[in-house]
């Protein structure tokens, strides 16, 4: 019995501590990505992938260069980026004060929290016909849907972050007889920001996601609209190129806010 146990330990431990010669993670990642692209290219050239399903990566790349020389892409890009940004800014500018309010008025926070959590499950997008009726056929409905979808995580994370602030810190602030502005600046904001930031990040992802989805079904401009248009015209290569542009933008926005998050967390902790 004891023998079996020690042998089990001996069997597990060396496997754990065996030094492994491995490539740096970034290199492996590049190998994975370019391996997939290369396989795709090769299969396409052999005629094993239908070009109407997925054109060759090199063709998409050529199309990207053509698109980047023209002016059309930039107008769609500008529309999508500005719509998403406005919705995101609205969501943060309203969401954080609402989160603070729900924290200060505890009954309200406790009462509305279940609603907020379920609101994340509601497909807000389906209300667009009603919003069209109320706000008219312009970017209004898109901004409304995108900011509603973005504001929910901002409120929830702000509320939870504030509730998580250590009560001892608040008592300490009181015993130093700090003014309200000092209390916020020195104690509450530094303590709550690291926990609230993931909500802001999620808000940004949702703002972009809702903007592009709405453009995909109803807009007359924007990257989501352009993908749908290329699809309806059977311009497969152009469609892939625009999808690639959206991917680049979302990744760039996500990286930017992640970098900000890291910076803020380092400064505050």
């Amino acid at each position: 019995m004891a023998d079996a146990r020690t042998s089990a330990v001996r069997r597990v431990r060396p496997a754990r501590h065996r030094p492994r010669a491995r490539l740096p993670a970034s290199i492996t990642r590049l190998i994975v990505i370019f391996g997939l692209l290369g396989t795709w290219e090769l299969l396409s050239r052999r005629g094993l992938i239908d070009p109407f399903t997925a054109p060759r990566p090199t063709k998409i790349f050529e199309e990207l260069i053509t698109i980047s020389r023209g002016s059309e892409m930039y107008s769609h890009l500008y529309r999508t980026a500005s719509t998403a940004l406005i919705s995101f800014v609205l969501a943060v500018a309203l969401g954080i004060p609402i989160g603070v309010l729900l924290w200060r008025i505890r009954v309200l926070g406790d009462a509305l929290e279940p609603y907020l959590l379920t609101l994340r499950a509601v497909p807000t997008v389906v209300f667009y016909p009603i919003l069209l009726a109320i706000l008219g056929l312009n970017v209004g409905p898109i901004i409304a849907v995108a900011s509603v979808m973005a504001i929910v995580p901002v409120i929830i994370f702000t509320l939870v972050a504030l509730r998580t602030v250590n009560p001892t810190l608040l008592k300490l602030a009181a015993s130093f007889s700090m003014s309200p502005s000092q209390r916020w600046r020195i104690v509450i904001i530094p303590a709550a920001t690291p926990l609230a930031l993931p909500g802001v990040k999620q808000g940004m992802i949702y703002a972009l996601l809702a903007t592009v989805s709405m453009e995909f079904i109803l807009a007359d401009r924007g990257l989501g609209f352009r993908v749908a248009l290329a699809n309806s015209r059977f311009e497969v290569v152009t469609m892939y190129a625009y999808i690639f542009i959206v991917i680049v933008i979302s990744v760039a926005a996500h990286s930017a806010i992640s970098a900000l998050e890291r910076k803020v967390r380092r400064d505050l902790l």
């Binding site: 597990v12 509601v122 109320i134 989805s213």
Partner: protein
């Protein structure tokens, strides 16, 4: 790019009980006021604007479409594609998330890729799914899968990483097998994060499927909304919108029940 928890972990905090009796009564009052206020808003809008259908009209339209059963095929199409895509996403995302969460090297390799997939609006891939799988239900299942799998992965990874190293070491020193360690230590400790990911995944796949239907799938609730909007049958349209919201809320509720069950069962 880093993977952050998708939801404030420690959902139990959110459900803590409020103390005094008076404040609880006030809380229930506020909670009861919310649906009433929404109803009031709806009535107000429908009175002021011709394009917003009235409450009674909408309910009548809902009742008649439910009775005649004309909507059942579309509901079934939407529901089955969401459920199938979500189930595949759970079957792929949870094990993969645990595997990545427990291996720091492979996490470093795939983290930016997963985070990118999480950040990209997946609806844009629907035309590609149509090209690959055709106009049947398969393309909707595929887009539901793609929408659900990334939030599930991100949350599961965060959950698996949050499991204290001491617990894992303890389990190993007790001579637990891989499977035992997973079932007895990792899974129970990661459940709140995984559950948050499942909720996001379900919501996200539902939205994407409905948007895909609005953008040109052959059948489904999104198709009905778009068709009714086109022919300006507004009460019918709004009744379908309400139905979509109710289904989404029911799905969310069901997941919450499953979560509470599994938490009690495992811990």
């Amino acid at each position: 790019m880093t993977i952050a928890p998708t939801s404030p972990i420690g959902g139990s905090r959110l459900l803590r009980k409020s103390g005094a009796d008076g404040s609880r009564r006030l809380r229930h009052l506020v909670q009861a006021a919310v649906p009433l206020l929404l109803l009031l808003l709806w009535i107000l809008l429908s009175v002021r604007m011709d394009l917003v259908p009235g409450v009674v009209q909408t309910m009548r339209a809902l009742a008649s479409s439910l009775r005649s059963g004309e909507i059942s095929q579309d509901s079934w199409s939407t529901l089955s594609s969401v459920v199938a895509g979500f189930a595949i996403a759970v079957a792929v995302g949870v094990p993969l998330g645990f595997a990545l969460g427990r291996s720091s090297y492979w996490l470093k390799v795939f983290e930016p890729i997963v985070a990118a997939g999480y950040a990209v609006p997946r609806i844009l891939l629907y035309p590609i799914m149509l090209a690959i799988f055709g106009f049947g239900i398969e393309s909707k299942v595929a887009i539901a899968f793609l929408s659900a799998v990334f939030p599930i992965l991100v949350s599961t990874i965060a959950g698996a990483r949050s499991v204290s190293l001491i617990l894992v070491k303890l389990a190993r020193s007790m001579g637990m097998s891989h499977l035992q360690r997973f079932a007895k230590v990792l899974l129970p400790a990661a459940i709140p994060a995984v559950a948050a990911g499942l909720r996001m995944g379900l919501g996200s796949s539902f939205i994407t499927v409905v948007v895909a239907e609005m953008s040109g799938a052959p059948e489904g609730l999104g198709v009905v909304v778009k068709k009714d909007y086109g022919s300006q049958q507004l009460p019918e349209m709004f009744s379908v919108i309400l139905l979509i919201v109710v289904i989404a809320l029911a799905g969310n509720l069901l997941l919450g029940l499953v979560e509470r069950r599994s938490r009690r069962h495992l811990s």
